[in-house]
Structures are given as structure tokens and as C-alpha cells.
Symmetry: C2
Subunit: 330 residues, 2 copies
């Protein structure tokens, strides 16, 4: 099997190294003979694509390299594209992807870090930290006391790797967890799980709301201005999904009016957010630059483990666990 | 027994009510006949002090009402002063306190909230949140990735209610916990416990440092500029003790030089911090206005439970668990 890893040029924190690949291969399942190449430039990419059957790379590389209709000529033997992201919304619509090429996401890499970011954010919101950060900006020593999480309700939208890890942490701190997912199967860390169409009924009793769903046509603008206003007064919101899942301007309005107590968002529209953007300066809004769930100490090892596990499943004639369904978008 | 509760005038969040007192009495140990009075003004205080045997109040009230030598005349029958704070450093030196009056602190009230504040702070520091807050202030979208807590080392100075709760949470997240306390008895959540004089040896291997000791003559300036510089490059510090336990100016210097990655302090010198103070604006410094450990939803109930438990012990002829030793200062 010929595998090519294409790092983005100049990538500092997450460029995959040959040593990481070899370590993953040594601890991973048997795949038979494997040849690997690693590059971060045009020449390396073009040379490798003539023979490669598997490509591991970033969504931004996929977008740049494969315009609609171009893939078969550039990479005639390619069977699998594995992306280092869990959310592949940047690759939609999927009309550039030939039907016989399998697309894999990186779902599973983010669990530990995402769970810690989620519980950190819930604790910060319970302690009014975003409002206190606004007060710090203004040099105001303004006592705002917060309460512990136990007994309070959080609604988590999306129960994949990230939402599931968030639910586990929230439950460990004694919260009442309500899950919302496309198909409302029960979840061990949720007291209740509902389908997305129950959201309007759930929001008024959700003091905390945590968004962790993929961005798809079904979730784009899911938390619009009307739905955000259904949250109770003093509610707190975490967005670790995508900026387009909520109406970030409406969130700012509700923070300014005092209806929302605080928000922590790891995502924005656009990214990077320009310096003059309102989101930076809205009272009670904490902006995190899309780093919540990526742990440089473990990310590449987990990415490679997931790729090798998927290749082993395919080799055994079974479906790949990380296969993305272009029709669903995740 | 005659008990008087003196609230500070105008107190919003934490004034103790008669309903709270009655509920505590109903769920608490039997004390025999008890008469209670509650006031927040001069007249109420003076009238009650003629007969009261027990006074429950704030340290700032004690300081204002009992100058050196004044207590026996103002409160001739007083046997117990219970304070709503855990740390009574504001009452030192204790030359105003007659030998036959017992002083009780509020140790134990803060466990749940303090533990949550501690783990929130450790997670925030691991995620570089204080540096990201500085970037937000300046409108800079600057990726800084953080790693999970598991396997990293935190040194906790002080293993009382707050430090003990911090140790429990840190251990639950997989951290290696080193405890420092005056008398180095083992602690169930610490891999190691050392006496204070081992601090210089422990600091160089402590990526995280959490201060949770009482302020006493022995801990004043404990973390001076020399000791802070013993921390490894990139270290992170939480101060939930008192501002005078560390050299806050040295902490700012080390943040500016980049030796320290981030600090979160719940305490400052002076409090409230004036608007123009350097602490507000130092990059990587998160200032919290002394609210970390007080949960308005549970604080008064816990305070009253602790008082009643102490009075029951005294009534049974046993030592009061919350007795403060004026010689030690805690």
C-alpha cells in the first residue's frame, strides 16, 4: 500500500513526522507492506499523487489541490483521502469527490482535550469568568459570585466524540445533561436525549447550552436569534461546533441586553476574526481562536492510530469507522 | 444560649436571614434552648452585645467593633466569636481578643466551590486562557494550543479545605500532585507531601503551582521573587490564598519576560485593586475579584451548619473543630 502524507507548508504545531509515522506503524495493526512518503511542497505532492492509494492531509490542502473534476487526473490510483479534521464542512459540497474515493474524517482524536475544554468552559461560565474578563479589561473590581455546577442543567447539541466527552465531564460534576442529536438514541451520560426538533421545548429549561454538532445543511443557523432568545435569562452558551451553527451577532445582542450571562466560543465567522470585529469586545463574550480540542502532545499519534485502524478494517473487507457520508456531510 | 448574628450594612449576596437560621437549627444538632437576634446596624449590635454569648459575623465587623481592650466592656458575656471567613489574617495581631473568648473560623464552607475554582484554573492555564484573554483584548487571533492535564505536575501549597479540594480535583484529572504544608503529614490525593522548607527543591519540577495556604507570619511573602523564578520556564500559577503570600509584582515581571506562561489570582494587594493597577493589564495575568470560593447558593447554610456543629461540640465538653489558634494565626 502506498500512503502519502501532505503537511501544509510552514505548519509548526501539527506537521506529521516520519518518526511519528514509524512509531504508529510499530504499535498499530498489521497492514502488510506499506510505503510512505511525506511532503509539504508542490513537487512532493505531485510526485506522490501519481502512485499514492491513500492520502492523509488537511482539509485546506484537499480544497486547494482538488478542484471539481480534477482528482482522477492528478491522483489516478487514489482510493482513500483521510483528513486531520473531525469536521469536514470545509469540503462541502462534495462534488469534487469521485464516487470510488473514500473520504475519512478524524473523529475520535479530540475526546480528551475536548472534554477538558467543555468542563473548563462550563466552570468558567458558572463562575461568570467572561463577565469578569470584561471587568478586568476596564479595571473594575466587581464582585460576582458563582455557584457550583451540581444540579444545574446543560443541553448539549451533538453527541459525537466532542459532545459525548462534554456530557461525560458534565455528568461527573453532577449536572443534569440533556442531549440533542439527529437520531435520538439514548446516551449513557445524558438523563434525556431528544431529536433536533425538540430543541424549542428544551431550550427554556437549559441554563447552560453547549454546541458540539457538525456543521451540515441541517445544523447551519440552528441556533438562530429566535432560538437563542428561548434560553432563560442568565443563560450561558459554549460553542465548540462551528461559527455558522449559531447567529453570533444575535448572541452579542443578547449579551449586551443582559439576557445571556456569558458565552465562550472556540469558533467564529470569519476565521481568523479581524481585529475590529464586534465579537472581541462584546461584554461577557470570551473568544478562543479555534484551539479547544487539539492537543499538540497527542494529536498526531491519535490521527495516525485512527488512520491505521481504518485501513486495517478496509483491508479486512469491513466498513471504515471514520467514513464520511457526503450526503449527510459527516 | 444567646446568639447574635451581625450582618454588614448593605450586604447583598451573603446577609444571613432568620429563615436560614431556623432551617439550620431544624436540621442541626440539639443545642438546648437558643435565642437568636439578627441585625445589620449599630443599635442592633449594641443592644445584642449586652447579653450575647455567641457572635457570628464578618471579620470586617470584628475589626471595626473591637479595638484593643474594648471587648470586655462592649460584650461582657461573650464566649465565642465565629467568623464567616476561613482566613482570619485580617484580625491579626490578636491582641484585641481576651483569652477567655474563643475564636472560630469558617473552614469547611468552601470545599466544593474552591475545588471547582481550582480545577477550572488549572484547565484554563493548561489551555493558555490568560494569554488568549490578553490576545482578545488586543483583537489578535493567535493560535496557542494546550495539552490535557493528565501526567503533569502541580505543587499545592496548603492542604486545608481549599488546597485539599484542589488536590482531589487535580488527581481526578490525572495530575501528579505534590503537597506542601506546615506539618508534612501524608494526604490521600498527593503523591508526595513535604514541609515548607522543601519548597525550593520542589519548585523547579512544578509546571503548575497553586497557592491555598492561610496568610500567617510564616507564609507572608513565601513566594517571593527568588522562589517564583525557581519555577520552570512556561510555569503557571494559581493564587487562591492571599495577595501577600506571593510577590505579585515579581509575578508580573516574570509574565512580561515570558518565564511564566500564565497566572490566575483571586486575591490582590490591595483589595479592591485600583483601576490603574498594573495587575489588570499584565499579559497572561487573569484577575478574579476574590470570589473564587464563595457560593451564594450554599454559603450561609454551610456557615450555619459549621457554627452549630462547633457549638454542639463545645456543649459536649469537646474542643471546637474550627477553633483558631491566635499564636499560629489559623
Amino acid at each position: 500500500m502506498r500512503i502519502h502524507i501532505q503537511n501544509p507548508p510552514g505548519e509548526q504545531d501539527f506537521a506529521i513526522t516520519l518518526a511519528q509515522w514509524q512509531a504508529a506503524l510499530a504499535r498499530g495493526p498489521s497492514l502488510g507492506p506499506v510505503e510512505v512518503s511525506i511532503a509539504d511542497d508542490d513537487a512532493g505532492f505531485s510526485a506522490a499523487m501519481r502512485e499514492a492509494e491513500v492520502l492523509l492531509t488537511w482539509t485546506k490542502v484537499v480544497r486547494a489541490r482538488f478542484p471539481v473534476g480534477a482528482l482522477p487526473e492528478i491522483a489516478p490510483r487514489l482510493k482513500v483521502i483521510a483528513c486531520t479534521s473531525a469536521g469536514l464542512d470545509r469540503l462541502a459540497p462534495f462534488d469534487w469527490l469521485p464516487e470510488d474515493v473514500l473520504l475519512l474524517n478524524n473523529r475520535g482524536t479530540h475526546a480528551a482535550k475536548a472534554g477538558e475544554f467543555a468542563i473548563m468552559s462550563l466552570l468558567m461560565l458558572a463562575a461568570h469568568m467572561p463577565r469578569l474578563a470584561t471587568a478586568q479589561r476596564e479595571g473594575r473590581w466587581e464582585s460576582r459570585f458563582g455557584s457550583v455546577l451540581a444540579g444545574r442543567t446543560v443541553c448539549i447539541v451533538g453527541l459525537g466524540t466532542m459532545g459525548g466527552a462534554a456530557a461525560r465531564q458534565a455528568r461527573a460534576f453532577g449536572m443534569q445533561v440533556i442531549g440533542i442529536r439527529a437520531r435520538p438514541a439514548p446516551h449513557p451520560d445524558c438523563a434525556e436525549v431528544h431529536a433536533t426538533d425538540a430543541l424549542d421545548a428544551v431550550l427554556p429549561r437549559s441554563e447552560f447550552l453547549l454546541l458540539a454538532c457538525p456543521l451540515t445543511p441541517a445544523t447551519r443557523s440552528l441556533m438562530d436569534a429566535r432560538r437563542l432568545a428561548l434560553l432563560p435569562r442568565g443563560a450561558k452558551v459554549v460553542n465548540m461546533a462551528r461559527g455558522a451553527v449559531w447567529d453570533q451577532d444575535a448572541a452579542c445582542d443578547l449579551l449586551e441586553s443582559g439576557h445571556l450571562d456569558g458565552c465562550i466560543t472556540d469558533v467564529a465567522v470569519p476565521e481568523p476574526l479581524p481585529p475590529e470585529h464586534r465579537l472581541w469586545r462584546t461584554p461577557g463574550m470570551t473568544v478562543v481562536p479555534h484551539v479547544s480540542s487539539d492537543d499538540p502532545a497527542t494529536y498526531n499519534d491519535r490521527t495516525l492510530d485512527i488512520l491505521l485502524a481504518n485501513l486495517a478494517e478496509l483491508r479486512a473487507g469491513r466498513p471504515a469507522p471514520n467514513r464520511v457520508d457526503p450526503a449527510r456531510g459527516y
